[in-house]
Symmetry: C2
Subunit: 348 residues, 2 copies
């Protein structure tokens, strides 16, 4: 059955633009295949600007403005003066796409946006790891209380399916342990080191290619992987861990000599995010581990990511795919919206 | 919402017993988590026997009989005289589990069973490749016409999700090409040859471990992989290929020297099943290919299987998991039944 959704986008950086491009390109096939119709009625971004049009914004023009540096409110495609909170409170949204930067200490503005939206019954798709890592049980309860659906496929492995794989591909399977290579930057650096480069050289190369930030701390100290380990533990294993409770070691202590010694043993150093159940308690950790070819994560090199599930009925099942990128993460939001649409169809 | 299903099982070999064990073990959690209640009312197998009880069979006793060699009708747990067709026609089934052996020439009794069930509106979950490879478009139309649901996750990669991954993990993604290592026997043999064994030695070892049949033709000549390539092409890419139209080369022409030459080049020979769209036409093939470490299938060794999807939005996404086994294939049927249950909930 066809249904139409009013969508608001908060955060119009590379991922926000990625989902806008995908929505623009797939508009016709989304309606034909899924009965999913949409209007993007508002976009709010502190840098790109803010604009609102209850009849739907022209996405091609909004994307062109974001690329050329024109602020959205200067485009003449809608009303100015709509900041992110006004968009949630007064924008008559059906779905909010929350794509602001991750803040693992406070949850950042994303946590406020999610609380505001869910408490109004607005469905949410987000790629923002902060709120989900810090407050998943609270946000899930808030969503349930107000009949809202909260989806966040893009918080782990971008659009490569992890949560939908568990829900629909591995239903009724009992999962004992989840292990993943969930950070592309560190995996790229370790892969380059395995080819003989020093840590410093490899980091510089990752920065030159846009895989690592100017301040690479969040990646190389393991904080990004930590957020993902906590999300996997709390969402899939039913834990209630806070990031502060989870041991986390990054890759800055790994030397070229370590990497070369491992190679001589036929092994590789990988930064492994792990969540598991031990004596009925959900645990998680992030640390570099030396793994051999028998490990399904051994072959995952460069910026590629992977998550391996240990199940009761199938043994080990591993999904391998990209973990970042504007289209890759943007697609996660589309996948989430189709899932929201599907769940809503079952409710009628 | 809780719903109860009357299930019939046709084929009570290792996979039939596998799903019976899983159903028996997970009865309580299936009801609690999914609202899925069931009674297995009939089992029909030419070797293990046939039995029917409209109040539900005692699965523990049926499994014990299958292991000990007692025929099911001699157990005293239900009525005798119920062959497979009578079970479909008079058993008041909600769901049929069709688990008879694959016949790629005629579709075998499985094709008859599926037509009989679907035309009566009985939902079907099957691991039988023959009917799906030979007659998917016909069977899908028959199912739709009679309001029945046809699921067959176990025909490719046993319980490792391929079709549910595409439907729920990669929705609205356009898929250009699917490549897979979909036969564990040949992959085991090629992996052993890479360790220096001759084809004959490796085959004998595969037979000793139960990975290869006494007559290994269906595996080593690529027929099993061919069936799976056709299923992937027709189901996921919308083709209407017949197995006879698809080029198929097995691994019997691969020598130890070929394997060793590849190794010196840093490559491996793998039996690749492939389905793709070329100039708007769906094509498929099965043949050994020499692939390098950049290929997501390169690392898939031993009896492990994998399928790689080439998508527009995510690039390459690969699922890796077991491709055979009594629990692994049995679980595919459980996954299918939960999916049938989920779809039925959306219909009310």
């Amino acid at each position: 059955m066809t249904q139409s959704y009013k969508i608001g986008i908060i955060g119009f950086g590379t991922v926000g633009q990625g989902i806008a491009e995908i929505l623009h390109l797939k508009r016709k096939s989304l309606e034909e295949t899924y009965g999913f119709r949409f209007q993007v009625v508002g976009i709010a971004d502190p840098v790109k600007g803010m604009v609102y049009n209850p009849e739907g914004l022209d996405l091609a023009k909004a994307l062109e403005a974001a690329r050329s540096g024109t602020r959205l409110e200067d485009l003449g495609i809608g009303e100015a003066g709509w900041d992110s909170l006004k968009l949630i409170r007064e924008g008559a949204l059906d779905i909010l796409l929350e794509i602001t930067p991750t803040n693992l200490q406070t949850g950042g503005p994303g946590l406020t946006h999610l609380r505001e939206a869910l408490s109004r019954g607005i469905h949410v798709a987000t790629t923002n790891k902060g709120p989900i890592a810090l407050a998943y049980p609270e946000l899930k309860a808030l969503a349930d209380q107000h009949g809202a659906i909260l989806k966040f496929e893009g918080t782990v492995l971008s659009g490569t399916p992890v949560f939908n794989l568990r829900a629909y591909g591995l239903p009724a399977a009992s999962i004992r342990e989840i292990r993943g290579i969930v950070n592309g930057t560190t995996n790229y650096i370790l892969t380059q080191m395995a080819q003989g480069k020093s840590y410093e050289e490899a980091l510089k190369e990752a920065q030159a290619k846009g895989y690592a930030e100017t301040d690479p701390t969040a990646d190389v100290e393991g904080h990004d992987a930590l957020a993902k380990a906590v999300i996997l533990a709390n969402v899939i294993l039913g834990g209630s861990l806070h990031p502060d409770q989870v041991p986390c070691t990054g890759i800055t202590g790994i030397t070229l000599e370590d990497v070369q010694t491992a190679q001589q043993e036929g092994k590789k150093w990988k930064l492994i995010a792990r969540a598991w159940v031990e004596d009925g308690t959900v645990k998680a950790e992030v640390r570099p581990q030396k793994i051999g070819p028998e490990d399904p994560l051994y072959a995952i090199d460069g910026v590629m990511n992977a998550v391996a599930f240990e199940t009761d009925v199938l043994g080990s099942v591993t999904i391998v795919g990209p973990g970042a990128g504007s289209w890759e993460a943007g697609y996660a939001l589309l996948s989430d919206m189709i899932e929201i649409h599907r769940i809503l169809q079952t409710r009628r």
